[in-house]
């Protein structure tokens, strides 16, 4: 469905190799997670495979079509949801979806049917005939998702898709990702949410400093699922036993501090002010103890 071989990208006027020798192959019907820290090269890889950025080495094939040699056929099989949700804000939601549907040659019947379904799914019916510039962040994200799906792409690429979405929409997207893959299509998405990736993806790749470090199965492999966080932290060079234990503890534990009574808070504040005035050291923990 998607084959990336030895991808290399260097930005103009930059010495740093943004992406170096990345190779991934995605199978039909799988949800593939793409992990990495900020600036690791996730978005660059996605921009290369969607045709936004030219690249300096390697090949990318989408459904057997080379993105450089046969870009139109390759793009026909792909739907892309960007991380910044930028769209033509002067158009209404319906105009934008129709515009995209025209470009992908979707018949009137198909687009009407799909649009109706997505409007109910993403609860956007009330805003579809309004100008996009009046949409909220999450609504723009939803209209991007609808436009990316209007031609039922075989490869659905999403760059950090859950950012800014309400819980209900997140659940709907997750459900739709599963449904999309059940039809034999593929989903490729980048995320920082390790927990979501662990629960949703069949496979995952971890990228660090432009290099693909690890790619492994999650579906049916409980050990990999259990070790995902640790592997991620180690690969990205941020592993520190204490921090990692903190992270795991935070994932599993209640984190809210114990509420401080008004009187206690005032007392604490005044003692803190007093401490500042007298030059004493402030109290170390004002937030109550953690469970």
């Amino acid at each position: 469905m998607l084959t990336i071989k030895n991808l290399k990208k260097v930005y103009p006027k930059s010495d740093r190799v943004a992406v170096d020798d990345i190779s991934i192959e995605l199978r039909p019907g799988e949800i593939f997670g793409f992990l990495g820290q900020n600036g690791a090269g996730k978005s660059t890889t996605i921009k290369c495979l969607t045709g936004i950025l030219p690249f300096d080495g390697g090949t990318i094939e989408i459904c057997g079509y080379d993105i450089q040699k046969e870009p139109i056929k390759a793009k026909m099989n792909m739907g892309y949801v960007p991380d910044n949700h930028s769209v033509y804000e002067k158009l209404t939601g319906r105009e934008y979806v129709n515009y995209v549907a025209d470009l992908y040659r979707v018949s009137k019947q198909d687009r009407t049917e799909r649009l109706e379904r997505y409007l109910d799914l993403f609860k956007l019916r009330f805003a579809i005939d309004k100008q996009i510039k009046s949409y909220s962040h999450g609504m723009k994200q939803k209209i991007c998702i609808i436009a990316a799906l209007i031609h039922e792409p075989r490869l659905w690429v999403l760059d950090e898709p859950m950012m800014g979405l309400d819980p209900q929409s997140t659940a709907e997207i997750i459900a739709y990702m599963k449904e999309h893959c059940a039809k034999g299509n593929t989903v490729f998405f980048s995320s920082h949410n390790l927990d979501l990736v662990k629960r949703l993806c069949h496979r995952v790749a971890i990228i660090n400093d432009g290099h693909l470090i690890d790619c492994f199965d999650l579906a049916g492999n409980e050990e990999n699922k259990a070790n995902l966080e640790e592997r991620f932290f180690k690969i990205t060079g941020t592993y520190e036993k204490r921090l990692f234990e903190d992270y795991i503890a935070q994932e599993q534990a209640e984190m809210r501090p114990v509420l401080v009574e008004d009187d206690d808070a005032e007392a604490a504040n005044s003692s803190e002010t007093g401490a500042e005035q007298t030059g004493d050291a402030p109290k170390a923990d004002m937030g109550g103890e953690r469970k």
Binding site: T50, G51, K75, Y80, E89, T92, Y99, D102, D129
Partner: protein
């Protein structure tokens, strides 16, 4: 409890405003430094030309015609009018349309503090503009009249006094302007019709007045400084309130023939007028500003609801439809492009009419075809220059042009088609207008049908060439500097470049046609150009070559160049 004003916050906000407008202290590259330097030199050169013009004007009015007071009245009228127009634009842009109000309100600052900081910025801006406008007049006036130190002190005082009235008027008018803009904001067609009407109306008014003055001067055989004209200037100056009051204070007691009482009253009137306008501006602004920004009446928040059925279009059709609607639904773009395209024939008619009448009377009727070619090409250049933002205007949504399954060449062809279509319509209308106006028996057959046909062919080819070059320039170096509303903040260098190329082309074509219609072009004994037909053939050949070169420049390696564009 009401929070007290924090001057530290106001100072920070003002500094932020100044940084945002004039750039922070970031290191810039040598190339940018050079460009900045060239820009400054160019601006200074234009300013120097203006100052020279003012000097000659002052000399003519004050020394040769002894119209000292009248000159001061006219200068005050001019400077205050320009200053007021600039101030209105500045206040509307910075107070209500800057798009950063929402961002600023997230900080621990009050609406009042934002208002004060922005108002201070606008005021500083106004002081600078006012100084740049008035100082050349006052200094040159002082030099020409050999005025003493008193005059310079008085002019400094008047300059300071003169800052307030335009600024207060701007504040008073900004709110109604914003309300009207927001009221009609989504009536795109209505706005377009209004813009066209305003543009044509303003231009017709200006040209009619200019023609009237020139005709009057030529028919009455009076000069700009004949006794009759001097009497008219004097009558105007004595009735031109409130500008007269400022001129009286500048002119002083001795030279103007005004008594101390007159000057005192003039000062009182200015003081009262400024006070009343200031109080009005204060109440209007403080009572409406916070509400205005809170209610989100900033234009970027105003959207519309339009229910349409799902419609299927061809790829070409849908791309044209999108491009056209993005232009039509933007106030700025509609004005810059569509309104100009529709109004161009009107402007061409009036400009050509005036120039042809003047030229015919002085040089001869043979000048008219060349002049028409010059005028049409200049106006068409202004319209076509809009194509040089065709990529930049995609703004944040530029990535979309890369991911859609449509080749870059196809997308550029769509843009070329739309801009060429609008340009062609404008050229056709211009040619019909000049044909109807100058090729008739009644008009003295200043143009023949052959002239009109050839002018159409040449300008049409020029439109296509300039459109190609404009798009090429934007593909080469687009500037995705868009505002919150997704519109380009300001015209980029590509616009200036395409305007320059178009104007040079127009001047070369015009001068070539005008000169060689009188003087044959020959090398040795061989006469190369001897009639208007020869000129048209020569220009057509040159234009065809330019067109071929432009098309090749745009389309060769286009896909490769387009792919390299990264926002």
């Amino acid at each position: 409890m009401k929070d007290s004003l924090s001057w530290a916050s106001i100072k920070s906000l003002l500094r932020l405003e100044l940084r945002a407008r004039f750039g922070s202290k970031v290191e810039i590259s040598t190339k940018d430094k050079i460009m900045k330097g060239v820009n400054i030199v160019f601006t200074l050169a234009i300013y120097a030309v203006l100052v020279t013009g003012i000097y000659f004007l002052t000399d003519m009015f004050v020394k040769r015609s002894s119209l000292r007071f009248e000159f001061l009245v006219l200068a005050t009228l001019f400077t205050m009018s320009v200053s007021t127009l600039v101030a209105i634009g500045n206040v509307v842009k910075n107070l209500y349309m800057s798009g950063d109000n929402e961002l600023l309100l997230r900080f621990p600052v009050s609406g009042t503090e934002i208002l004060i900081a922005k108002s201070l910025y606008c005021f500083i801006h106004n002081v600078i503009i006012n100084a740049m406008l008035t100082l050349p007049f006052y200094i040159i006036f002082g030099i020409v009249t050999s005025a003493g130190a008193g005059f310079y002190f008085a002019s400094l005082g008047i300059m300071i006094l003169g800052v307030f009235v335009p600024y207060f008027i701007a504040n008073l008018l900004a709110i109604p302007v914003m309300f009207v803009v927001n009221l009609v904001k989504n009536q795109f067609l209505l706005v377009l019709i209004f813009l066209i009407a305003a543009l044509c109306g303003g231009f017709i008014l200006y040209m009619t007045a200019l023609t009237g003055i020139l005709e009057y001067l030529s028919s009455e055989r009076v000069g700009l400084f004949s006794a009759e004209m001097i009497a008219r200037y004097q009558a105007f100056a004595h009735a031109a309130y409130p500008f007269k009051w400022y001129a009286m204070l500048l002119n002083g007691k001795i030279a103007g023939g005004f008594g101390a009482q007159d000057l005192g009253l003039a000062f009182l009137y200015i003081f009262l007028m400024t006070g009343v306008l200031g109080i009005g501006a204060y109440f209007v602004t403080t009572r409406t500003y916070y509400k205005t920004i809170l209610k989100g009446i900033e234009t970027e928040k105003v959207s519309f609801h339009k229910k349409l059925p799902n419609v299927c279009r061809s790829v070409f059709g849908t791309l044209v439809h999108r491009e056209f609607y993005l232009i039509l639904r933007s106030f700025n773009y509609s004005f810059q492009y569509l309104a100009m395209a529709v109004a161009a024939p009107v402007m061409v008619y009036f400009c050509n009419n005036l120039a042809a009448t003047m030229g015919k009377n002085t040089v001869g009727a043979a000048i008219v075809p060349g002049l028409t070619l010059l005028v049409i090409t200049i106006f068409v250049t202004i319209i076509v220059s809009f194509a040089s933002t065709s990529i930049s205007r995609e703004g944040n949504a530029f990535y979309h042009t890369k991911i859609i399954p449509v080749s870059f060449t196809h997308q550029i062809l769509v843009k070329l088609f739309l801009y060429a279509l609008v340009g062609t319509c404008s050229v056709v209308l211009c040619c019909i207008v000049v044909g109807a106006a100058f090729a008739t028996e009644k008009a003295g057959r200043l143009l023949t049908p052959l002239d009109v046909g050839c002018i159409f062919c040449i300008t049409e080819m020029a439109v296509l060439s300039l459109t190609c070059l404009s798009i090429w320039a934007d593909v080469k170096s687009p500037t995705f500097n868009v505002s919150g509303d997704g519109e380009l903040v300001a015209a980029n260098k590509n616009v200036a470049l395409s305007l320059l190329v178009g104007i040079v082309l127009a001047v070369v074509y015009g001068v070539f046609s005008m000169v060689f219609n009188f003087v044959p072009l020959q090398i040795g004994e061989t006469v190369l150009i001897d009639s208007m037909s020869d000129i048209y053939i020569a220009l057509s050949v040159v234009t065809v070559l330019i067109l071929i070169a432009s098309v090749c420049t745009l389309f060769i390696n286009l896909d490769k160049r387009y792919l390299k564009i990264t926002p």
